[in-house]
Assembly symmetry: C2
Homo-oligomer: 260 residues x 2
Amino acid sequence: MPTILKLGGSILSNKNMPFSVKWDNLERIAMEIRNALDYYKNKNKEIKLILVHGGGSFGHPVAKKYLKIENGNKTFVNMEKGFWDIQKAMRRFNNIVIDTLQSYGIPAVSIQPSSFVVFGDKLIFDTSAIKEMLKRNLVPVVHGDIVVDDKNNFKIISGDDIVPYLANNLKADLILYATDVDGVLINNNVIKRIDEKNIDEVLSYLSGSNTIDVTGGMRYKIEMIRRNKCRGFVFNGNKVNNIYKALLGEVEGTEIDFSK
Amino acid sequence: MPTILKLGGSILSNKNMPFSVKWDNLERIAMEIRNALDYYKNKNKEIKLILVHGGGSFGHPVAKKYLKIENGNKTFVNMEKGFWDIQKAMRRFNNIVIDTLQSYGIPAVSIQPSSFVVFGDKLIFDTSAIKEMLKRNLVPVVHGDIVVDDKNNFKIISGDDIVPYLANNLKADLILYATDVDGVLINNNVIKRIDEKNIDEVLSYLSGSNTIDVTGGMRYKIEMIRRNKCRGFVFNGNKVNNIYKALLGEVEGTEIDFSK
């Protein structure tokens, strides 16, 4: 029953500037995670934690070089070179993230999806090692990556693909989405809570041309929490102490609860 | 039916000097692999290739810092920090190897076992992604690594553990061991060929106190080729053109053949 914390790519890097890192955010987030681990330790409670981060300014610009879009179809080309190029860019980003976490004494370890994931109609993603890591209180850090599909091509597996899969597979009870907005927004107002009572109304606002879904996948995030019957928060990871509070299960933002 | 080429750690690095790389060997080996790929291409033949390299001077000195030996029992300690430390050292080595291969146009990609392998009584090692990579003529480069076991501790998975598993799982028809000796040696002479006819005699020389098994796992290498009913060579990877010849299935050294 782990907690999964997704750190949006725009929290850790400036997407408009290739290979940029938001060091202030990264260091602060590491410190807040450290503080949250200490909180649980002092209470003699356990927290099993998984971190997921996207490609940010590392994965995207490199992947773009190898992506060919024709008649709306996306295919990757020149991948004899491209697969490694993307792998390496993501490794570099992931190294920076984990080194920073480790410098705060967080027992972070790396999970590189490109080594073992097949993302076809079905997602093949063996979590045996992740389960063993959690038993040892290590903190697996999974990242968006380039992976093979089942159609003789390739696919990007994003943080937003990884989170619901892991939530389901590892029976997560808390999913935390640190984004760059204050929560799920409708007409510029943060909805405090989404559950069975108001889900249909919320989704009607988030779909079609009415969408105010600035971060892209808000609808997807909500539906994944619903499908996995768990509890989660969408909150602003740029604001001081929000990551800490979220890890304690209480943060200002949108609470999404389908656990009952 | 891929070919698996194991590059011994002592071929690519100086084991007595932490973090050293034998650049002359690495560049030459990359060039010879390139030449072998061109040979097959010019003949309109296909070769599916997997490379495996050990920890060399990167993995071993770092792993040693976290290894506690008590009454002959090996356990890893302080792995909140150690797991990542070893992962990172191996990543650095693997990056160097793949970057060099790529500079010769070899479509090398990385497989990091620590991300997904559990090495308990049974080895859990999902090869779904590797199979898809081979279909696309990519060259997976697998390396020795730190992995979780099933006893709440950790284990080193070495190149010599990985090769027979992959050989078996992927039905390899050729296993090539590039070592720093000229082949399987008995009384300082290279045995030309090992097969069903002389295997018992050879093993009797390689076991117990009679062992002249300078590279450590020679007996294990032979038994693995036998168990997987395939063909292989143990040869000197330090000698010019031996890697090229081995990839063509003909190299001076010890031919081990249990394929019939």
